[in-house]
């Protein structure tokens, strides 16, 4: 792996330089939270906000898997004719993505790039995207990425990873896409002596800051044998089934397919859906295998920490903490996992 450094005051220049060839997105403040926003002109997004301690409210997933996607459109008066959307192939850079969101791409890749049914919409968006991640020197209190197989500087899935060293960034060049970015700019230098040690210190410090107390293998072991445990009867009780956790989650990928029409024009769309909603599994006959909050909460936990592991050898949770932070009734997935692990 190649390593470079860039002075903080050069960063804006580097990012601005990308604008001629790429669409650039970076975290920006919108009302009280951070969102990934498109940079329209040099300097219109303050890159320092993005590298502060807080992650964006919404995850990166909508860049590859938009909340609403058109599969094709049609005209009801012309049976059998479909028009497929032309997807942009403009290259883009998403800047300042946190490791937990970068790691979620592995989960999405496992689902949407299978050999049997590769998803052309997802793949097209993925191909045109370069990801510049930034490590987290100061993780939030809701973060638990270390427990789910990642870490505040875990780089899997990104093209460049920046490490904030105070007055400069250490830049880890992870892929060819990343290399292209670095080669196109004059702001990068070779790391001076001592820089890598400094980085190691920061990484260690950040890792220690995350209270790591969830043993994900132990959780899996319990889930393997406890589908019918009384635990599930009560753990869901607080949940009001709003679906916030699944919408904000960087790994949740359930969707519905439906038609929308206006007069004679119509579209077949894919739209985010949630396993926390009762209609999700309602059968034509009226039967429903997940009829109450109990079955639905169990599905959410089982899918993330057992079924997905059985099928893809990774958990479908990156420990980003969004569901912890934004659940209106404070249903904390970490607490659920901890209860499981002492069961």
């Amino acid at each position: 792996m190649k390593e470079k450094t860039i002075k903080k005051n050069e960063l804006a220049n580097f990012v601005a330089g990308l604008l001629s060839d790429y669409q650039v997105f970076a975290p920006a403040k919108e009302e009280e939270s951070l969102v990934l926003k498109e940079m329209q002109a040099e300097g219109d997004i303050d890159l320092d906000i993005g590298v502060g301690p807080v992650n964006t409210k919404k995850s990166i997933k909508e860049f590859f898997f938009p909340q609403k996607e058109r599969f094709f459109s049609y005209d009801l008066t012309k049976p059998g004719e479909m028009e497929e959307p032309v997807l942009s192939d403009k290259k883009r850079v998403i800047f300042g993505v946190r490791p937990c969101d970068v790691n979620s791409i592995s989960v999405f890749d496992a689902i949407f790039t299978s050999d049997q049914y590769p998803d052309p919409y997802y793949i097209k968006r993925r191909e045109r995207t370069t990801i510049v991640a930034i490590g987290c020197n100061k993780p939030e209190t809701t973060c638990f990425c270390v427990d789910t197989g990642g870490g505040p500087f875990s780089a899997d899935g990104s093209d460049l990873l920046l490490v904030d060293l105070g007055d400069e960034y250490l830049v880890q060049v992870l892929t060819e896409k990343g290399e292209t970015l670095v080669n196109g700019s004059s702001g990068f230098s070779e790391p001076k002596s001592g820089v890598l040690q400094k980085r190691d210190g920061i990484v260690e410090e950040a890792q220690k800051a995350i209270k790591s107390d969830i043993k994900i293998k132990k959780v899996k072991g319990w889930l393997d044998n406890n589908f019918d445990a009384p635990f599930w009867d009560t753990v869901h009780e607080k949940c009001i089934g709003c679906g916030t956790c699944t919408y904000l989650c960087p790994t949740c990928h359930c969707f519905d397919i439906l038609d929308e029409t206006k007069g004679e024009k119509g579209e077949r769309i894919r739209i985010w859906d949630s396993c926390m909603y009762p209609q999700f599994t309602l059968h034509a006959s009226g039967g429903n295998p997940r009829k109450s909050g109990k079955e639905r909460m169990r599905q959410r936990v089982m899918h993330k920490f057992k079924y997905f592991v059985d099928n893809n050898e990774m958990v479908a949770c990156t420990g980003c903490g969004r569901c912890v932070k934004y659940c209106p009734v404070n249903l904390d997935i970490r607490e659920v996992l901890k209860q499981i692990q002492v069961s």
Binding site: F71, F72, Y74, L76, P79, G80, M82, E84, I111, F112, S114, Q116, Y117, P118, D119, P120, I123, F227, D228, H253, C254, F255, D256, I257, L258, D259, T261, G266, R268, R270, D273, C275, F280, T281, L282, H283, A284, S285, G287, P289, R290, E295, Q299, M302, H303, K306, Y307, D310, N311
Partner: protein
């Protein structure tokens, strides 16, 4: 790259009203493009998503047999908005199909074995496909005895009546059609599917049994089969779940770590016994 979400174009060649209550119609479709027909390879068992612009998509078992070249058949029970919309279509209309989706019956395993087909109601669709396939002259010699037990609440609700008559005349298939209660003009068997199964099923050694039907029928048939000595590895079921994508990614049809749309819909009872009872 193939786009798994785009339906292929088919034309409705024939619409058959199957039942006296007028709720089940069969639709025979033909492929409009030759390449689509060539790509649509299947063995009995899978389903397809039928697509109607403005109405959406819904999954239906493929009732035709691959031995019926160029024909794709579905039998559709009218129960709600979507199936109502299909019922209103006519011969000559264009309709979309996405598939074949899911796995097929494990036909290789049936070779040189007795095969028992147990079905009730309109779940007979993919089993019609299987029966038709196995008794085709190219395939019949691959299997030993073929026993079909098919029941409906009353004679008016039986599907594929002409075909059943034909099969009844053949001596290389043991066809047992039954209705729940005596009915005027019915001189066939009367009795519930599980009871008839008990009477006519061959010895369970060297036999496979495939069961498809309403949950209540399955519930009472499985104990009968177990009593007859069928091990769970040789009891085969086809499941229905709420489905959308049909390709294992939209997340709604799983039972434990298995997706009914992709890993199924065909499972052995042994496989299902390993999974949580969430279906």
């Amino acid at each position: 790259m193939n786009n798994p979400y785009l339906p292929i174009k088919t034309r409705i060649e024939k619409v058959i009203m199957e039942t006296e209550d007028r709720n089940i119609k069969s639709f025979e479709l033909s492929f409009i493009n030759k390449e689509d027909e060539e790509k649509f390879q299947y063995l009995p068992g899978p389903f397809a998503e039928i697509s109607i612009p403005g109405k959406g998509e819904a999954p239906f078992g493929i009732a035709s047999s691959p031995t019926e070249k160029g024909v794709l058949k579905f039998s559709i029970n009218r129960t709600g908005l979507f199936t109502e919309a299909i019922h209103s279509l006519e011969e000559g209309d264009i309709i979309g199909v996405r598939g074949p989706l899911g796995n097929n019956y494990p036909i290789e395993k049936f070779e040189n074995k007795n095969v028992v087909i147990v079905s009730g109601g309109f779940a007979f669709t993919t089993l019609r496909s299987l029966t038709k396939y196995m008794i085709h002259e190219d395939n019949r010699s691959r299997f030993n005895n073929i026993t079909v037990i098919y029941g409906a609440r009353n004679p008016g609700l039986l599907l594929y009546k002409d075909e059943l008559k034909e099969w009844g005349k053949r001596d290389d298939i043991d066809l047992n059609v039954t209705v729940d209660a005596k009915a005027p003009g019915w001189d066939g068997r009367v009795g519930f599917v599980p009871t008839v199964t008990k009477e006519v099923a061959p010895a369970s050694e060297d036999s496979y049994v495939i069961v498809c039907g309403p949950p209540i029928m399955i519930k009472f048939t499985i104990p009968v089969l177990e009593e007859l000595g069928f091990p769970p590895e040789r009891i085969i079921l086809s499941l229905e779940m709420r489905m959308k994508c049909g390709i294992g990614i939209c997340g709604r049809c799983n039972i434990g770590e298995k997706y009914v749309c992709k890993d199924g819909p065909v499972f052995t009872l042994a496989q299902l016994n390993e999974l949580p009872g969430e279906y």
